[in-house]
């Protein structure tokens, strides 16, 4: 096997190198530069050579690595396993530590505006991931249009807040309710669909909502977006340097100096609380009959029917509950940005959220957190490289799928246990 393997791998890596050359040669190697007002092609063959060498060598090692483990294909690597076992054993402590860290995070010395913004963004994705985890991870319904509910939540929040002037805490449940209703609306036509077909229809649904928002100008202002969405206030105390006449603000009430960071920190805690509520809710409902029915439906719909489980209601509740949390996250997004437009709710958002759930390990709450940190963090780190960000994103996905084919945390814990001897 040994010699044969190396020979095969070499052949394969040579092939990879050729493909890489064909791809990167034109993309990276040829660059047009304006010289004396004339466009000149400037080749950069050295960079291409580096990339091609990297691909070929990488392919070679991946080959050797995976062939070596052929007998236990499908299982994940030992390193991944060790991490997963560690997380399993110390799960509770790690969760507490992580929550504690996220609570003190805004007061860390390095937590400036930039880090806070990233933290808020990550927390939003974590919340969306947890919401979508109900639909994909538990109920096994591949929903590629989740961003639609995020959009419905954001727009209903914005419209209610702008037109009726209601406060955040009133608009939030309304937005969630609206999103949940849209979840049921989507749920009905797709009840009979599974797998690929379901994915296609949900994808179309996501686009429909976006196009609707784009074209219903009277209501949504179309591509101009909605501006002037009220910022959240701290139980009625606004975060403003120069408040309106007779209105007490957050900093005067607490006798603090005005600092724009106060609002950011408040937003951070807001999304932290919303996300933790989502998490607590999911953990709890998973152990209730409806949660078990979701998972049973993912496992075998026909068996569910034979046991008298109503698949229609079960699916609809999964869609509705998942959508509701998407709606909550959407209202947060609207109030944070104070401006929303259909631009923010494109398919790529859905794709990122699905990637977070799938790469985290379907149904795993901790997995969602880890993959969010990994994926969003990576996108952020590569911010300076602009167009290469998505390459890094794709590369991260490939890495996870190579080392952990069933997601970062694939192990599922039973929702109810008999204990050692009943």
């Amino acid at each position: 096997m040994g010699k044969d393997l190396i020979q095969k791998s070499l052949k394969d890596s040579l092939f990879t190198g050729i493909i890489a050359l064909a791809l990167f040669g034109p993309i990276v190697g040829l660059r047009t530069v304006a010289k004396n007002e004339v466009l000149v092609v400037e080749p950069k063959w050295f960079v291409v050579l580096l990339i091609v060498a990297f691909c070929a060598v990488g392919r070679f090692f991946i080959n050797i690595y995976t062939y070596k483990k052929e007998k236990r294909r499908g299982e994940s690597s030992s390193l991944g396993k060790a991490i997963s076992n560690f997380l399993d054993e110390k799960g509770a402590q790690i969760a507490i530590a992580a929550i504690a860290f996220s609570i003190i995070f805004p007061f860390m010395p390095f937590a400036d505006r930039y880090w806070m913004d990233i933290a808020i963004m990550m927390m939003t994705y974590i919340m969306l991931g947890w919401g979508l985890n109900i639909v994909i991870g538990l109920a096994g319904l591949l929903d590629l249009g989740y961003v639609a509910f995020y959009a419905v939540g954001a727009y209903s929040y914005a419209l209610f807040a702008i037109h009726f002037g209601w406060s955040f805490w009133i608009c939030l449940p309304i937005a969630g309710l609206f999103a949940g209703m849209f979840g049921i609306l989507l749920g009905f036509p797709v009840l009979r669909l599974r797998g690929d077909y379901l994915a296609i229809v949900t994808l179309a649904f996501g686009e429909m909502i976006r196009i609707l928002l784009l074209n219903w100008y009277e209501l949504t202002k179309g591509p101009d977006g909605l501006t002037g969405i009220p910022r959240p206030s701290f139980f009625g105390l606004p975060f403003k340097r120069y408040p309106d006449e007779g209105v007490e603000t957050f900093h005067t009430f607490f006798g603090l100096e005005y600092d724009p960071m106060q609002r950011i920190i408040f937003l951070y805690y807001l999304i932290l609380i919303l996300a933790l509520i989502t998490n607590a809710f999911t953990i709890k409902i998973r152990r209730l009959p409806v949660g078990r029915a979701w998972e049973a439906l993912r496992e075998d719909e026909i068996a569910c029917k034979s046991l008298g489980v109503n698949p229609r209601n079960t699916k609809l509740t999964a869609f509705a509950v998942g959508a509701m949390f998407g709606g909550f996250a959407g209202s947060f997004f609207a109030t944070r940005q104070a401006f929303i437009s259909p631009e923010s709710f494109t398919f790529i958002e859905s794709a990122i959220i699905v990637a977070i759930v799938v790469l985290g390990g379907m149904g795993s709450q901790t997995g969602v957190v880890l993959s969010t940190i990994f994926l969003i963090g990576l996108i952020e780190v590569f911010r300076d490289f602009e167009s290469y960000r998505m390459v890094a994103f794709g590369g991260a996905m490939v890495l996870i799928m190579v080392f952990r084919p069933r997601g970062i945390l694939a192990k599922r814990k039973p929702t109810i246990t008999m204990g050692k001897h009943g």
Binding site: F281, K284, I285, L288, P289, V290, R292, A293, E295, A296, E299, D300, I302, A303, C304, K305, S306, L307, G308, V309, N310, P311, T317, R412, P414, T415, I416, T417, M418, G419, H421, G422
Partner: protein, 264 residues
């Protein structure tokens, strides 16, 4: 005829031009194990699919006597047959929830009861005492059945990790968790060894005698059929060709012909 549990009259099922079941009439008694046998493709599983609402029968009637209350099975579509009429079934190719634990499989089978107890999740979310009590009861029921098939110590393992024979038994007791009046078993002995087959016979007799649940059985394994059936219905090409006790069936020339063919 108060003892009749299931009464099937002139049941016909057509798929386009193909007649899968042709004018089938039979009945099953409350304290009986009624077997449906026949060569491959005789329409046995189709009968089950009609009874349990997976197919809509083209013609004929199916009535279930539930505590002297006659229920028309044709009125119920798929899951409602199990939920409302109390007809449970197992499948030819085992359909457990493989990634869920044995105990969870048993709990899902008690879904409807628990769903009501959890106030459609609202009482459950606030940890209401009455729900926790009901959940405990459901666990007791699960444990009771798992004790019977000897799987209590594997209750927390994934159902998909069990040996084949145990999966078969688990599927049967899981179906019993919905407290059915009629239990339809589709080839429960397929792929079992002699000992497992004997265990299965014991389990089915227990369900019949102690749980007073009527059993409708599709089976190829003649040792199971002959050992426990009170009544046998033989199908061939969708038609009933014989009906009688196990002994009568064994000696019936029509049945032998259907299985072994005739001399030309």
């Amino acid at each position: 005829m108060s003892n009749t549990l299931l009464d099937v009259q002139n049941l016909t099922m057509k798929f386009g031009g193909l007649i899968a079941i042709d004018d089938l009439t039979f009945s099953a008694k409350k304290d009986h194990i009624t077997s449906i046998i026949g060569p491959n493709g005789a329409g046995k599983t189709t009968v089950f699919n009609c009874l349990t609402g997976f197919y809509k029968a083209t013609a004929g009637s199916m009535y279930l006597n539930k505590e002297n209350n006659k229920m028309d099975l044709k009125k119920f579509s798929d899951f409602k047959v199990a939920q409302k009429a109390g007809v449970a079934r197992t499948f030819q190719n085992i359909r457990l929830f493989p990634q869920m634990s044995v105990l969870e499989n048993m709990m899902v089978a008690q879904h409807n009861k628990l769903m009501v107890a959890s106030g459609f999740s609202i009482l459950g979310l606030i940890n209401s005492k009455s729900y926790l009590q009901k959940e405990k009861e459901a666990m007791e029921i699960s444990k009771y059945w798992l004790d019977i098939i000897g799987l209590t110590n594997r209750a927390d393992d994934n159902a998909g990790d069990l040996p084949y024979g145990d999966q078969r038994k688990l599927e049967i007791v899981r179906a019993m968790c919905i407290e059915p009046h009629l239990l339809c078993l589709d080839e429960p002995a397929a792929g079992l060894n002699a000992k497992e087959s004997a265990d299965l016979n014991k389990l089915l007799k227990f369900i019949k005698n102690d749980k007073k649940t009527g059993i409708l059985l599709i089976e190829h394994d003649m040792s199971v059929v002959m050992g426990i059936s009170d009544h046998v219905v033989v199908l061939n090409y969708g038609k009933k060709i014989f009906e009688g006790t196990a002994k009568e069936t064994k000696n019936s020339p029509e049945v032998i012909e259907a299985y072994l063919g005739t001399e030309d």
